[in-house]
């Protein structure tokens, strides 16, 4: 049966996340970018809500249990600031993977990721040049009682401090995707902080090269792993849409106040149509994300690449329309629009897959 009506709990989550986003995250956005870290008080506030640590009660947490609601939460947090949202979720994603696929050995770690705001874990997931999970070059091979991990991951959150890292790769002998817990102290880790990026600095991303071996008990259960990875990847789409929505709302407000040629510029179709079109694409994208989330929640086979790729473009173009609406004011740091423009572009590079999108000229 079709049901596109958000449940009351989802509306509550949306409202809470939006409020946090606007009142707590947004004011800290510039500081987080400059410091390349989420300010401590912001992190604690966000952590306490559990919105970004999606470990449900049945797995020992108190966070959001389903992907559909998680996407709503992340979109609305990103409405405040995408950088902080992504940073917070990066640690939460590690907790989610461990909670869903870890054994009893990992229960204590999950506990600390849920209860200790000071912990930072991360998932080493993305590889360059848009390699999706099926084409990962990182290998995870079991030999006897040890697991050999070799590869290179980019955009690893808190690369310089996250512990442990959950590395996702391919087990070539069995042909499937695996995830393994790699403690920071493991030999053979080479961490290269990105050292300044276009945006999303709050998560202090790094490139991490692995050539290491860990005990076989560090291997996570592979059953349903792609589903969980799908949830984590889809989060980037939700964060992108939240970013785009914020930019469009801001620009729309500006357009109703800014007067040129005798009237508010919002009354010119050349100004309102690009924003309206951005709004249309975001409406489409949001539904695409919601359907993907619903399928993941049903444990149906779901490749999120297309939804992620589309949301990335939609947000990049929405923030562009916003900058263009503000003109020169959109280009200076006095307005947050330039930050969103950079953030949306950076988000669109995280998990890009040329298989899902071909280049189109603007005109």
């Amino acid at each position: 049966m079709v049901n596109l009506e958000p449940a009351p709990e989802q509306l509550e989550v949306a409202e809470l996340a939006r409020e946090l986003g606007v009142e707590v995250l947004a004011p800290a956005a510039r500081e987080a970018e400059a410091a390349r870290a989420v300010p401590e008080n912001v992190w604690k506030t966000l952590f306490a809500t559990g919105l970004t640590v999606p470990v449900p009660e049945e797995l020992g947490g108190s966070g959001i249990g389903d992907t559909a609601t998680l996407m709503i939460a992340l979109e609305n947090l990103a409405y405040g600031d995408p950088g902080i949202t992504l940073a917070a979720f990066s640690s939460g994603a590690a907790a989610l993977l461990l909670a869903r696929h870890g054994g009893s050995d990992h229960a204590a770690l999950v506990r600390s990721l849920i209860t200790e705001p000071g912990t930072r874990a991360a998932v080493a997931l993305y590889e360059p040049q848009g390699r999706g999970a099926s084409e990962f070059a990182t290998t995870i091979e079991v030999t006897g009682d040890e697991v050999r991990v070799r590869g290179r991951k980019v955009a690893v959150a808190f690369g310089a401090e996250a512990d442990p890292l959950i590395v996702v790769g391919v087990e070539q002998s069995a042909g499937g995707v695996r995830a393994v817990l790699v403690p920071r102290t493991a030999p053979g880790l080479t961490v290269t902080p990105h050292g300044g990026s276009l945006a999303l600095e709050a998560m202090a991303p790094a490139t991490v090269a692995f050539d290491t071996a860990v005990p076989v008990s560090n291997l996570l259960d592979a059953s349903g792993l792609l589903n969980t990875i799908g949830r984590i990847r889809l989060a980037v789409a939700a964060i992108a849409v939240g970013t785009g929505q914020r930019a469009v709302d801001y620009a729309a407000q500006y357009a109703t106040e800014r007067v040129a040629f005798g009237r508010p510029i919002a009354s010119f179709q050349g100004v309102s149509f690009p924003l309206a079109e951005a709004q249309m694409r975001m409406a489409e994208s949001r539904l695409e994300i919601a359907e993907s989330a619903a399928r993941l929640d049903d444990d149906a086979a779901e490749d999120v690449s297309r939804a992620v790729g589309y949301a990335g473009e939609v947000a990049a173009e929405a923030t562009r329309a916003a900058v263009q609406t503000l003109g020169g004011h959109g280009f200076i740091a006095e307005h947050p629009v330039e930050l969103w423009y950079r953030s949306a572009a950076a988000l669109s590079t995280l998990d890009f897959d040329p298989v899902c999108s071909s280049f189109q000229a603007a005109l």
């Binding site: 562009r320 020169g328 423009y341 298989v355 280049f359 189109q360």
Partner: protein
Amino acid sequence: MSLSFTMSKPLRDYTNSLRDWSVAQIRPHAREADTRHSFPENWAEILDTSPVPLGRHDKGGLDPVPEFEDGHWVSKLSFYEAISYGDLWGLFAIGGGIGHLVVDAMGSPWQVEKWYQPVVEGGSVTGFALTEPHFGSDTSQVATTATRDGDGWVLNGTKIFCSNGANAEYVVVFATVDKSLGAKGINAFVVPKGTPGFVVGKVNEHKMGIRSWNTSELLFDNCRIPEENVLGWSEGEIKPRSSGQGGALGALGYNRPNIAAMSVGVTQASLDLTTGLLDEQKAGFSPHRWSLVQNELTAMNHVLARSRRVALKAQALLDGGKPDRSAAAVAKAYAPQSCERIIRRCMQLLGPEGTSEELLLEKWYRDVKIMDIFEGSGQIQRIIVGRGLMGRVVG
């Protein structure tokens, strides 16, 4: 003569030299220029390394760009693209602002002699102050006032986004003598550096891109200037003193295709860099994925070729004595917006490392955004093209 889209050999040789030089000498300082929000300290020495003349403002006419049979404005396109291919800061360092070009276009002969000649001969920098906090495209909204005071004028108001404003020898300031006259009440005033009441509010705005380009906020607080500093102004348009090359229309309208060329320069650099990096990692791609990547790169190169053609068309018309505002607007609207997408796609193809400061792609992505905003935003260019079109339909 049959149609040709090929530049003459002398022009190609010249711009190839420029381009190689810009990559070798300008690009290595690109990150520094971005970080310090200013040109490198030794910018003049860096420009000294050029093997060919650059037309540097600070050389006072002793470094003229050669003229080519391809035409003045057509040649300029290649010039702009070649330098931008290294990095945009080089271009900004070479130029000396446009205030004196406005004087040349609008001033009386003695005003030109007093303010234009010394600038081009002495190599100083001038500013042009039109935009205010509450308006950009709609120039009839000038709120800076010029009030009669005996035999002079007193200026009051705030100007923003004034290129070179903080270090200019003088700034040409647009102010209204009577708001009830709308655009007709707006006059241009030459305000020399150091005039009491002329205060630099901000030397350089904190911008997303083209950070090395000084974009100043200027405050005029009971700033008194003599009658002789008033230039002419009417109908919201600068009227050129003559229709020849140079002049204020050259600085404004004629410059629009050059902006397309700047976009193309930075974007071609992005595309070439990305192609090189991807090529190095070809072995890691499945054949299917690699062919998709190649399709992407090809499609983007085609867009740059289209951008070059529309800019070329506009400037060829100009050189041929048939300037066409619509053609210039097509170039200005077409190239920058597509260039943004190309650089973004380059970063996407490389993945998150493509956005790292280790590479210049992220800087060029920030830089290129301005090209669709300044000197007539994309929206304004569409209005110009639309008016040309509808005008023709309506008759």
